[in-house]
Symmetry: none
Subunit: 203 residues, 4 copies
């Protein structure tokens, strides 16, 4: 039967992805060889090329996958908590993501160091296409409902994501400029300040 074969193939692909993920988050990505990925996945070197073109490809797939997972988790957490204020909701999500990344620094290191625009950015920007991930939509809806108005909400969202991402990277990884827990107040102040630029006085 065909499904059996297909399943088998999917399994091998997953083994390779998992293997690469393990290695990429453990070591400097440049030092990871395709040999190692294959060996650690328990398949032959040649098999790698049956599923992926090269290291770049598998790396990009992993970054998209992990970023998405993290955003989805934050989104789900938000839905499960009844947070109504616009700013509060944004801060809640950011905080949720930061907590996850703090627990799992290697993922953060992996994503940040390899996050080239053209992968993640495209991903976030075109997030409309993702059935499950409706963060962008939510952002816009929530802003409207709470009487925040932005000329271009996408750009604001982008600024915030990028700012949080890059500053928190060094905060979590290197404790610079401050350890993440001490840094958060400053960061959240900054985020709130930016969001407040869109606040209107409508009731």
């Amino acid at each position: 039967m065909k499904s059996k074969i297909l399943e088998n193939k999917k399994q091998k692909e997953n083994k390779l992805l998992k293997s690469a993920f393990d290695l990429f988050t453990t070591r400097d990505i440049d030092t990871v060889t395709i040999s190692e990925i294959a060996r650690h996945a328990g398949v032959a070197k040649g098999t790698f090329y049956l599923y992926f073109k090269d290291k770049d490809q598998i790396r990009n797939i992993l970054i998209s996958r992990e970023s998405r997972r993290i955003f989805l988790n934050a989104q789900k957490a938000l839905e499960e908590n009844d947070i109504r204020g616009f700013e509060d909701a944004i801060i809640f999500m950011i905080n949720h993501i930061l907590m996850e990344l703090k627990k799992n620094r290697s993922i953060l290191a992996f994503i940040e160091k390899n996050l080239s625009w053209g992968i993640f950015s495209d991903y976030v920007q075109n997030a409309f296409a993702d059935d499950e991930l409706h963060i962008k939509n939510d952002f816009i809806q929530l802003a409207k409902k709470n009487h925040y108005q932005f000329k271009d909400p996408e750009v604001v969202m982008y600024i915030i994501i990028d700012m949080v991402g890059s500053t928190c990277y060094s905060s979590i990884i290197n404790n610079k400029p401050l350890p993440i827990d001490q840094y958060k107040p400053y960061l959240f102040d900054a985020v709130r300040a930016i969001l407040r630029t869109g606040k209107t006085n409508e009731k």
Copy 2:
């Protein structure tokens, strides 16, 4: 006389630095070989190792040097213009830097992609040690003079630098989320919002 030799050595070092800079800003740094740097500098391969330990070292030197140069230019421009408001001064400097980077995208790409904390951050953080570069000091003085008060001005400065750096990178290089000229208003709004969090009402 010895001065001739010393001069000659300095010249060679500069040739190598220039060569590396040319290559690093033109191509992906990983694809640049030491052979090429030497060849393009017009010296033998072994000569490279007389002046630098490896590619990392020459890269770090270049990043420090270029970052410093850009900040120095901005600082000088600020001094030459009589801008008194705190927010205006910050925005002026940011704008000055962005204009320079826009003109010279390759430098931006080079700095951003290779700017590891531990190089630049240390540099900016310890900028006190630099006799000429007194941005940090200026920031603090200017804030005080204009009645802005921050619990930790350094952190605020850091947030701004990092945010500007990372978001403008993709704006200038990839036009995402918007081309830099359209993006600036949003960015400056965000910066002003952050700065305003420190505003007090003293006269």
Copy 3:
């Protein structure tokens, strides 16, 4: 079937060993490069590293192999000739070995110059472990049978091997202190003298 591949691998390994042996016995080992070994074996440079770690490893393998072969030959020759006296048997073997080395000076040069204790010595000392090579045992048995008694036969054997090895090296290679054929009488006298130190008067 797999046997074909395995056979092929064994063949390549042998090609490399032969190539290395040819080069090592022809030239100063330090001047032989891995490139050459591979090229002369008709394989790619990388292939070398599939079979051996480095030049040292292949060299040690060759020394063990060749030394063993020479001793085995001498042993076999002894068995095929009915020589009963203890001293005569030892001299016979030494002579057999010297004749072989004389015919093949390059092997002698190769072995002697690279024979580091830790390779050969271990080998000779632990010769018990070698099923085929029972020289050490034979020496002890033969001594006993012929009423020679040594406090530590192993040490005596070792002295003889080492003495023969080092003096004959220069005799065969450099004709010093005498060409091997003229040198032999002196050498054999010395060997017999040493052996005779263990002679007892039992009948």
Copy 4:
């Protein structure tokens, strides 16, 4: 004055020789570079080539020098002690040399590992030319005086030197086949046995 200059030159040459000796006896000779020899001697790299052709040359000079020194010491010690028997005198000298080498293993390692025939052998063989070093002569005289007769005393001497040298090397350095102090009885027995082959019964 010229003598001053000449003295200065001799001094530099000695500095280089000492430097090389220090390095050669401390490390594997192949890893010692000419740069290091010069640096450790406190002169410029180019200066090395003013005094020596290459590493081989300086190495050979050192080996001759050290070997000679050791033999001279043994000879002097013999003269200072009134030992009349032929065998006893030989054993005395060997023992003297072994004690010195045991104290200074690095010299032994250096000499043995680099003692190529053509250096030392020539040296010992042509020892007649050395005004101070008259070992060979002594050997012959002493043999005669004590009624030992050898067809070719030189060859016997050579066998002994070589045998002692090569077996004691591994004994002192690797404790194989036995530590030197336990090995000596066997060795001396062997030496005496060889010498005794020349004994005559004249009174």
